[in-house]
């Protein structure tokens, strides 16, 4: 298409009505700066201490990350050992698909099979460790304010699946596939698509029937939350996207809130440390892995 065609074709939208006073650089700069104070539902809060949603009992000054993630949307961070990460389902239809990696060596990452097998428990809940394939704990689910409405069986939706089911699945679509969002999040942490292992999902539940059937148990409701403890320097990818087994015809996902603050890694005094002999050894392996590196 030639420039002439663009300027003479009246059917082409040139942004009519939105082009006001940005003809010069000074005007464009003023216009851009004039947009900065807009507040929307899904956005990061900076500094984190300025969050309008500081979790109860948390010193705002201790916050290191505060954000409301759009649905669909994604976020990611590399956090220090001992960081407490709180996820909240603000309106009752968030679904936080999470993958975690050791920031010391991202080849060490969430292993969902070991996370289910080693505690002899398929369902995620308070005290459940998120284990790597290297026999260590990447993160612990310290609290579960969602009554076990979580899932480690189903993972994320795919581009092809959402295109077939909803008409689109690209990251920029309103029906983004969880995998597309995790791909982007991972890329920004230096990871490639091959680095996306099976993931876990918070705030949408699945149970296995006696015959193996996967049964959807839905959400816990608005205000449900979980808190994770980073047991080692941790890279976390979070996609907020509709769950693959969500039975509703319409793609449904509402905002996810993330707060993180400096706290303590798990210690022998924590009940989950000694909840089972397997978990105790997982924490001991983690502790020694960090000890030998001079990390406490």
């Amino acid at each position: 298409m030639t420039t002439d065609a663009v300027t003479t074709d009246p059917t082409i939208d040139l942004g009519a009505g939105r082009r006001s006073g940005t003809a010069t650089l000074a005007q464009a700069r003023d216009d851009a700066r004039g947009r900065a104070d807009i507040s929307v539902e899904a956005m990061p809060y900076l500094p984190p201490s300025s969050s309008p949603h500081v979790p109860a009992g948390v010193d705002p000054a201790a916050l290191t990350w505060a954000e409301t993630v759009a649905g669909p949307g994604y976020t990611h961070a590399t956090v220090a050992r001992g960081t407490r990460i709180r996820l909240e389902d603000v309106e009752g239809d968030a679904c936080a698909h999470v993958v975690v990696y050791s920031a010391l060596n991202t080849a060490e990452r969430l292993n969902v099979a070991d996370t289910q097998k080693i505690p002899w428990q398929a369902y995620l809940g308070a005290g459940h460790p998120l284990l790597s394939g290297d026999g260590r704990v990447l993160a612990t689910i310290a609290t579960d304010g969602a009554g076990g409405h979580h899932d480690a069986f189903c993972g994320v939706t795919t581009l092809a699946g959402n295109a077939s089911r909803y008409g689109a699945g690209e990251a920029h679509s309103a029906t983004a596939a969880g995998r597309e969002l995790l791909r982007l999040a991972g890329t920004k942490e230096g990871l490639e698509p091959r680095d996306l292992p099976p993931s876990v999902s918070f705030f949408k539940g699945v149970r296995v029937a006696a015959d193996g059937a996967l049964e959807w148990t839905g959400a816990a409701g608005a205000g449900a939350s979980v808190e994770l403890i980073a047991e080692m320097p941790l890279t976390i990818l979070i996609a907020n996207a509709a769950h693959p087994l969500d039975p509703r015809d319409d793609y449904t996902v509402t905002p996810l809130r993330v707060h993180a603050w400096a706290a303590a890694a798990s210690a022998p005094s924590d009940p989950w440390w000694s909840a089972t002999p397997e978990r105790t050894r997982a924490y001991l392996n983690t502790q020694q892995h960090l000890l030998v590196k001079g990390i406490r």
Partner: protein, 225 residues
């Protein structure tokens, strides 16, 4: 064709035969505790025989042309809405595309949620005295390295002939097997796939009756009788 038979024999071993007839493209035995890998061409049928009975064959599948596309337990289970692999189950990739389809299966249910054993996880499951026991993750890493794969490419796998029930309260684990000598599973490749198998060397749980035995792999081309 290379045939490497096991180093020990038992009178109950049953090497059976291909589940789907056709020209034999490959017929090999995976020795107890060993790894194995090969590309299976689209349309060919891969038969795995549980020679000694209840011998877990830990299995990963990759698109032969693009190893970043690989078996996804989660995509597979979502599509079939069930936690177990049975006759007709389609192994889907992480992009939701069919890699292989189970076309014959002689075990009530095949496991894909139990994952692979590793030297590292053995220390959690059975104590630190097991640290120097051989494990499936070692086989996956060694076989994978021959194809340019590394630890980043190890994802949740399939355990042919292993039994992992999930109870109502979420309790899950490996219990005595429901396979037997000569039982088979067979899969048709839906595209060219790289299949990596670890003949599980575990000696701390019932995934192989505490007794690693051989597996037989036969690939047939049904189009060439």
């Amino acid at each position: 064709m290379t045939v490497t038979w096991a180093t020990h024999e038992a009178d109950y071993f049953d090497r059976s035969e291909p589940s789907v007839p056709g020209a034999v493209v490959l017929d090999e035995e995976i020795a107890p505790r060993a790894g194995w890998s090969a590309v299976v061409r689209a349309g060919h049928v891969f038969t795995l025989v549980d020679v000694g009975g209840n011998q877990s064959g830990d299995c990963l599948v990759f698109d032969a042309a693009d190893h970043a596309e690989r078996y996804s337990v989660q995509a597979t289970l979502v599509a079939q809405r069930n936690a177990y692999l049975v006759d007709g189950s389609v192994l889907l990739s992480n992009e939701g595309n069919p890699l292989m389809t189970i076309v014959a299966n002689e075990v009530e249910r095949q496991d894909t949620i139990g994952g692979a054993c590793s030297k590292e996880s053995n220390t959690l499951r059975y104590g630190h005295h097991t640290r120097f026991h051989h494990a499936c993750r070692e086989n996956f890493l060694l076989e994978g390295a021959a194809h340019g794969l590394g630890p980043r490419d190890l994802v949740s796998n399939i355990n042919w002939f292993m039994n992992v029930p999930v109870e109502a309260d979420g309790t899950l684990g490996i219990v005595d097997g429901i396979s037997g000598p000569g039982k088979r599973v067979a899969l048709r490749a839906e595209r060219d796939v790289l299949v990596v198998i670890s003949n599980c060397p575990q000696v701390n749980n019932p995934c192989n009756d505490f007794n690693p035995t051989p597996l037989r792999v036969i690939v047939t081309d049904p189009g060439e009788a």
